[in-house]
Structures are given as C-alpha cells and as structure tokens.
C-alpha cells in the first residue's frame, strides 16, 4: 500500500467528513467553471498564458537579471538564495540587522517550502501568520492542507474551539462571521506591533522591477503598512516579462483559484515608501534543476492557483494530509517527485489519470501526463508496489479485450449511481489502494451510437 493510501485510510474513516470535504472543494471547482464560462476567450487566454510562461522560462536568467536591475534602480535590495537554508539565513540576517522580534507574514508557500517559521522561532523571532486560514492552522499547530485554502479541512466548531483558547471568544460560538471578526480584532494588534513585514510574491514584473501580491483579506497590505522593513520572498519562476504578460495571469489567477473575477487586493509594490526598506529574496531551491528536466520543465509554469487540487477527485476525497509532500494534489505529486522521488513517490498513486487537472490548469501544465511518466519511472527506481503492478496488468488485459472493456465501464458507471454511503463505504477506493474515477454521464461509445457525436 502506498504512503498516500495508508494516510488516506485515516481521513476516509470519517464518512461524513469525507463527503463534506469533497463537496466543499467541488463547490470551489464549480465557481471556477462559472468564471471560465463568463470569459469567451478563456481557452485562448490559457493557451497564450502557457506559451508566455514557456517563453519566460526559456529566458529565465535574462528576465531575472532584468527584474533585479529594475528593482534595484527602484530602491529595493535584491538577494539570491540557492536553497532553503540560504533563504532562511538571508531573511534572519535582515531581521537581526533591524533588531526585529515580531514578524507579520502574509501567506507564502515558499516560506513553508523553506521551513522559515520554525527556523525563526528557534532564533527568538515570532512569526505571525496574518491570513485567516493560515492563522487558524498556526493556532492548531498543523500545516495547511491546501495551498490556497489552508483550513479547508477544518470545521467551524473546531475553529471555534481553538479561538476560544487562543482569542477567548465566547464558548460554543462557531459562527464564521463572529470568528472572523474576532481574528480581525486580535490580528489588528499584531499588525500594529510588528517590526518586520513579510509577503510572498505572485508575480514579479521584469520590465518594471515591481512585484504583485494578491489577497482577498488585505493582510499583505496591512502587514506592510507599519513596519520599517518589508521582505518579499519569491521563487524564481514568479518573474513575468512585462505588464502585457501580467494581464494574462491576473485575469486567470483569481478565476481559477477561488472562482472570483479578481482578488480583492492586487497590490503592486515598486518603490519602498517613506522611511521603509524593501528586500526581495529570489530563491532557486531546486528550480534550476527543474529547468534541466525536459519531462517536467512545465512545472515552472505553475501560478500556485490550486485549481488542479480543487478538481482532483482523489484530493477531494482524501484531504491534504494524505499526501506526504507539503503541497497536495496533482501539483504537489509532481513537485514532490521533483524534490525527492525517494521521499515522495508514495503520492504518485494518488491519481486516477482522469486528466481533470490538466484541463483546468490556467497555465495548461500537463499535470496528469507527468504523473503518468513518474509512474513509468517507478520501476527502474525500484519504488513500484507489486500490488499496483498487478492492477496495471489487469487493466492491460481489459484494454486488449474490447467487450471486457465496455462491461468494465458499465460497472464503473453503475458504481457512480450508487447511494453515497455505499460509495464512501465499501468502495472507498483510496483506502484500499485502488481508485474510483468520475465517470462521464454517457460513454463516448453510447453517444456515438446515438449520433450525439459527429
């Protein structure tokens, strides 16, 4: 059994929670669909965005140097970090130079990737997460289970409980509005008392030296409004050539991520404001190796929108903690394998090859195709499970015999029509190392016969 299947077993033991989680994510996926359908040029937009990324990563050094030049001319300090360790050291050095003790952070997957918060806390610097979801997870002492919706697996009652303890909210009150406003009040003090601000970077505009941070809560902007130092950290792939390119991604990001026409705040930081120091840390940490990996170089196109995660039937039914890499879902399976196949190969089985991820990805990354490639490589890496190999052999047999193939699909279709409790019980495929994909309402063959396909 793969590491994912083992961990998933725990998650799906709670049937109700599994169904609830599944629905919450599907709701976000549907919002994304409505947004996509509202933009007639959506597919052309994705295609151009994808090509623009390819253009950018094929000139990565050029654009990064351009960004550095312009950001420096704007008055920002640009640093380069080879790996997580160097990134953490650079950040800590800046903080120390200013005698900082209280860091206010807005959400950044890169800081998770580098393990920044524990690094700083060991050295006596308090790092407060200001995004509500991240703050909830920080209070709970567990990592986010999703890159855009950190607390998507947490129920309101659980939030109420932890706020009761940490923020002294009314016992038993789990109303989201009440809890959000309690966090607003408490974090306001953190914003006002912080001496260092940190943000991630969604896009870095090479032609201008500006960088863009997107939030709905306004926490990045609140965070950078008071301290004398703003540290922005970015993975190298965040650079975009210019504003024309940026337009593509700003149009795609929020629509894909949360199904909104835009985030509430799309902030453009170019020059440090009066009396403030601005630092930008550009981080490699394995990205230059991805560039040299022709099968997986497309991963550098990722905008971290999370829509591949929302649509993934395996993620929805097993939750973020079933994956051993800190980023779950199709994007995480691939990035984990690029980080370390030895450590993270247990996630590659968490895929039905339904290709839904590849179909929603705003940068048109071939996520499912890449997962398939990893699977092919597991054998030479001696990481394939014998059980999986057996299933693959079985599939091959079915594929080679058309009658068997069609009856297998019919059986699958039947499975989908079964009541939910059956689905989430006896067939809860993810716990037993097998998979239950979403089936189309009609098979292609049926549609063809009825003349619905021309």
């Amino acid at each position: 059994m793969s590491s994912h299947a083992k961990a998933a077993k725990k998650f799906i033991a709670d049937r109700e929670r599994t169904a609830w989680h599944d629905q919450a994510l599907y709701f976000v996926r549907e919002k994304r669909d409505r947004m996509a359908h509202g933009v007639p040029e959506w597919e052309a937009l994705r295609k151009t965005a994808s090509r623009m990324k390819k253009h950018t990563i094929s000139n990565l050094a050029y654009y990064l140097e351009m960004f550095e030049r312009n950001a420096t001319a704007n008055g920002a300090h640009v640093h380069w970090a080879k790996d997580a360790e160097e990134h953490n050291r650079i950040v800590y050095d800046i903080i120390q130079r200013h005698g900082g003790k209280h860091l206010i952070k807005s959400k950044s997957m890169l800081s998770e990737e580098c393990g920044l918060t524990p690094y700083l806390e060991e050295r006596g610097v308090e790092a407060v997460e200001s995004d509500l979801g991240e703050r909830i997870m920080q209070f709970m002492g567990t990592p986010p289970s999703h890159i855009v919706l950190p607390a998507i697996h947490v129920k309101r009652e659980e939030v109420g409980k932890v706020f009761e303890k940490e923020l002294h909210t009314e016992p038993g009150n789990s109303d989201p509005t009440y809890l959000t406003h309690a966090a607003r009040k408490a974090l306001r003090q953190n914003f006002l008392n912080a001496d260092i601000a940190m943000t991630g970077v969604n896009f870095a505009v090479a032609s201008s030296g500006a960088f863009v941070v997107c939030t709905n809560e306004g926490n990045a902007d609140m965070g950078t409004s008071f301290p004398k130092v703003h540290i922005a950290i970015m993975g190298m792939e965040k650079v975009v050539p210019d504003y024309d390119a940026l337009a593509l991604y700003v149009r795609l990001l929020a629509r894909s991520a949360t199904g909104q026409p835009s985030t509430t705040y799309t902030s453009h930081y170019k020059k440090p404001v009066e009396g403030q120091e601005m630092h930008i840390v550009i981080v490699d940490n394995g990205r230059s190796d991805i560039l040299g990996n022709p099968d997986h170089v497309n991963m550098l196109k990722c905008l971290r929108c999370g829509s591949c995660i929302n649509t993934c039937p395996v993620y929805r039914r097993t939750g973020g903690y079933s994956y051993s890499y800190f980023i779950p879902g199709p994007i995480g399976i691939n990035l984990g394998m690029l980080r370390s196949p030895e450590k993270y190969s247990g996630n590659v089985s968490a895929c039905t090859l339904c290709h839904s991820c590849s179909n929603v990805c705003p940068a048109k990354i071939d996520l499912a195709e890449q997962i398939y490639k990893w699977r092919q490589q597991l054998d030479p890496l001696h990481l394939a499970s014998s059980e999986k190999k057996f299933i693959v052999k079985g599939l091959k047999l079915v594929m080679e015999h058309p009658a068997m193939f069609y009856s297998a699909i019919k059986a699958g279709r039947l499975a989908e029509k079964m009541p939910r409790f059956v689905l989430y019980n006896s067939l809860d495929a993810w716990g037993i190392g097998r998979e239950l994909p979403d089936f189309a309402p009609e098979t292609f063959n049926e549609m063809w016969k009825k003349g619905e396909v021309k």
Partner: protein, 192 residues
C-alpha cells in the same frame, strides 16, 4: 562565486531552447454599457456604487452613506466632511480607528470591478485600516479588461499601487463568505 552568479550560471547551463514571445490571438472581453456593467460587477465584488448627479455634493453622499462615521480621513480637495488630514499624522498607526477614508481612484476595470489606486497619501495604511472606504472615480475612466488596464499610458508611474475590488473578505472558515477580514468592511465607489 556568489550565489547569484552560481544560480544564473546554472540557469544558463540548463537553459531550454528559447521560445518566441507569443502574440495574443484573441479578442478580449468588452462591454457596451460601461457604467451599467461597472455597477453590476462592483456589486459582485461586494461594493456599493453611487452615480453622482449634476449639482449633487459628494460630501452629502458620504455623510448619508455613513451617518454614524465620526472620523473621516481624506487629503482630497473638496472633501470638507473630512475630520482628519491623514498626511499630517507622523505615525500610520494613528489611523487605527478611522471610520471612513475618502480616496481617489485612477480608473476602473469592467471585467472584474477593480479600481486602480495609486499611493496618494503619506501612509498607504489609510486604504486598508479604515472601516469603510469611499473611492471617487471619474466615470469616463473605465477600461474593459486587464489588457487595457496595464496598457494605459503611464501605468508604470507609481511607487505603490493597488487594484481594489470591493471590501476585504475571506471564506477561510468552511467556505462561508465573511466581509471585513482585515481591511475595509464596506466600499462605496462614487462615479463622478
């Protein structure tokens, strides 16, 4: 060798075949009734909008919209309902507790309800810390989409700028939408 040079050398060594820059081969969204569309999309973003009619006073509208407001911060000429000039404050923390901030938007984007705000006050905190935000916007300054927004002449002329679409919000607790996460709980765009 510095990390910078090492990273750049590695990028050059691992470089893939240069891909030409793509041309956008699509016609982006446009709208025939700009003001109507903008009011509609502002609503989607959770913002109010008011069309200022000839002879109407902005100050009256602000007062009427936020009758409870005690502190109104603005450095704009003509905003005589303002009780504080935020530019006279040394420390942006003094803005905490502001009820309404009145600021000027440069242009609005019809496809998503964003308004481009350039830093125009000494402390950018003003845009985020006040309970309510009033944005004055010339109704002729509306663009269809982000392509047009970023292509506006002189766009890059800012130190700090922010596209704001409605009030601060979150859905981090069970995907339930809550207005007023950290920034303004209410946004009113006055179309002049």
């Amino acid at each position: 060798m510095s990390s910078r040079d090492e990273i750049l050398a590695r990028l050059k060594q691992n470089a893939i075949k240069p891909e030409p820059r793509p041309e956008a081969d699509f016609q982006p969204l446009t709208f025939t009734n700009p003001v109507e569309q903008f009011q509609k999309i502002l609503q989607v973003a959770g913002a109010n909008s008011v069309l200022l009619e000839k002879g109407e006073d902005v100050n009256e509208i602000i007062r009427k919209t936020y009758p409870e407001a005690k502190t109104i911060a603005s450095n704009l000429p003509g905003i005589n309902c303002a009780t504080v000039n935020p530019d006279l404050l040394e420390d942006p923390r003094e803005l905490n507790g502001t009820d309404v901030a009145v600021i000027r938007g440069e242009f609005g984007v019809l496809e998503n309800g964003m308004v481009w705000i350039k830093q125009q006050t000494r402390h950018k905190a003003l845009f985020f810390i006040s309970e309510a935000l009033v944005i004055l916007l010339n109704r002729d300054n509306l663009v269809n989409n982000m392509h047009e927004a970023y292509a506006r002449p002189g766009f890059d002329d800012y130190g700090y700028g922010c596209f704001i679409a409605g009030p601060s919000k979150t859905a981090d607790i069970e995907q339930a939408l809550v207005i007023g996460a950290h920034g303004a709980r209410s946004v009113t765009v006055i179309l002049e």
